[in-house]
């Protein structure tokens, strides 16, 4: 569960499709129309070739675990009552990395373990991606 108060950022013209995708249960990221690089977070231009042209695409939802930490002191106030809690850094099959939470059996974590992006509600009317351990 994402705690109350840990609200996703405001929806803007640039990031709108990412959040619409999350609400629809789909991880949508920008792919550069010029060089094909997938990027995250949302940005006006491709960091690989600087092209301003892109399209939003649904990602596979496949990811692997890159690393994790267990926070015993919360650097984000909304999480003060949650310590200790685990935060993960995952690599999407399409390339980008993201910070997220893990769901499922977390007793034996390892770098490279397969994950699947799923969605959870956040706040009143938003959803955010988290990563479920693939059994």
């Amino acid at each position: 569960m994402i705690p109350d108060g840990a609200l996703p950022p405001e929806v803007t013209a640039v990031n709108g499709p990412f959040w619409a995708g999350s609400a629809a249960g789909e991880l949508r990221l920008q792919r550069c129309s010029s060089c094909g690089t997938v990027r995250h977070p949302a940005a006006q231009r491709c960091p690989a070739c600087l092209s301003p042209d892109y399209r939003w695409e649904a990602m596979s939802g496949d990811a692997v675990l890159w690393s994790w930490t267990v926070l015993h002191r919360a650097p984000v106030p909304a999480y003060a009552g949650r310590v200790p809690y685990l935060v993960a850094y995952v690599r999407l099959r399409e390339g980008p990395y993201m910070i997220t939470h893990l769901r499922g059996d977390l007793t034996e974590l390892s770098v490279g373990m397969p994950l699947r992006i799923v969605f959870e509600p956040a706040g009143a009317d938003r959803a955010v991606p988290v990563a479920a351990v693939v059994q």
Partner: protein
């Protein structure tokens, strides 16, 4: 005409321990920087009128130039308050002197991070900051914990392998009369310390401090007429690889390797030629990444290197002899430069490395940097 050589001729610093002990009032960071600069100029045997370049960090150049009476400057800039800027500022000062555009550059840094209770967890302009906060993630220490966890997994390192680095810093800080944390720490104390971002424990984190630090650089030729043994900057180099957040998936390795190759080409010095290491250590895992990146340990082995090599004064390359950021205090790389100079001058007192002629400063970070300092 051959390129001019550059030397550090003056150093100044606050008593970090005294400032650490009293946090009753919020201090003026620029005033601390100016105090350190006055000391550095006196140490160098130079006057404000000798200075034709000023670089400041964390404090504005305007405040320092006005307070110290620095006029007619040919080089001036204020770097931001991140620790990665110290190596970059020294590098830029050295380049400017080598070019002939300036002769004598003052570098002044000041921080009131402790007395102003600065929150470093959100101090950086990460493009993922808002997204990461949804998951309760922020702070360089937590991202560094992730890099370290990855490192442990990749190379089979034990998560307690940072202990020698943490204890070494605290041992050295106890010998430094101006260190923030002079209280010794033993193995049991380390293991019993609370976790912050696991696997990191409290003694793996830098100690936020107040203080000022200043350096004065000039040509090696001019340094010959000044009071102290000239400490030449034999080579310096920088490489920036910034990412959307503090995690660098390569653990800064390729950036540091690139810098190390350039330093070696310019100096002809190999890692084993270095007498003493000053390693940027906002968090102890960064020491492992730097030792590997700059070629002191093979990749994936620094966690064993810090266990098997003596990091203290009886070792082959004593490391962070003034206590580093986890003992002396988080002066963001600046005080490590001062310690490098003192070691080469033989002013280390109880913590002097015998026959110290070559010191390397190393910083593995989003802007990595390194200098090789050689006594002349």
């Amino acid at each position: 005409m051959s390129e001019r050589e550059v030397a550090v001729v003056g150093v100044g610093q606050s008593d970090f321990g005294a400032l650490f002990a009293d946090r009753s009032t919020q201090r003026d960071a620029a005033a601390l920087a100016v105090d350190a600069l006055a000391e550095a100029l006196q140490d160098a045997g130079l006057k404000a009128t000798d200075v034709d370049g000023l670089l400041t960090a964390r404090v504005g150049y305007e405040a320092v130039a006005n307070a110290a009476g620095l006029h007619g400057l040919r080089l001036v800039n204020g770097f931001d308050g991140s620790g990665r800027m110290s190596g970059l500022a020294v590098h830029q000062a050295a380049m400017a002197i080598r070019s002939g555009e300036v002769d004598t550059v003052a570098l002044a840094y000041g921080t009131n991070a402790r007395s102003a209770q600065v929150d470093f967890s959100a101090a950086y302009a990460d493009s993922t900051a808002q997204l990461d906060a949804i998951y309760g993630m922020a702070s360089p220490g937590a991202y560094t914990a992730m890099m370290f966890q990855h490192y442990c997994q990749l190379y089979g390192a034990d998560e307690d392998c940072l202990m020698p680095v943490a204890l070494n810093n605290r041992r050295h800080a106890a010998l430094n009369p101006r260190a923030a944390l002079r209280r010794p720490l033993d193995a049991q104390g380390y293991l019993d310390s609370p976790r912050l971002a696991a696997p990191l424990r409290l003694p793996d984190y830098c100690v936020v401090a107040d203080g000022g630090v200043a350096l004065v650089l000039t040509t090696l030729e001019r340094a010959a007429d000044l009071p102290h043994r000239p400490v030449s900057i034999a080579a310096s180099a920088v490489r920036a690889d910034v990412r959307p957040n503090y995690v660098n998936q390569d653990l800064y390795h390729s950036a540091c390797q690139d810098i190390a190759a350039r330093l070696r080409a310019r100096t002809g010095l190999a890692p084993e030629d270095v007498d003493c290491l000053q390693v940027y250590d906002n968090f102890t895992p960064i020491v492992l990444f730097a030792l590997e990146g700059f070629g002191h340990a093979d990749r994936g082995t620094a966690w064993q290197w810090v266990r098997d090599h003596q990091l203290g004064f009886d070792g082959s390359r004593p490391l962070n002899t003034s206590g580093g950021h986890t003992g002396e205090g988080y002066l963001q790389g600046w005080a490590l430069h001062v310690e490098a100079v003192r070691q080469i001058r033989g002013q280390g007192g109880e913590r002097q490395v015998p026959n110290c002629d070559v010191v390397q400063y190393m910083c593995a970070s989003p802007v990595s940097s390194s200098h090789v300092l050689v006594g002349r």
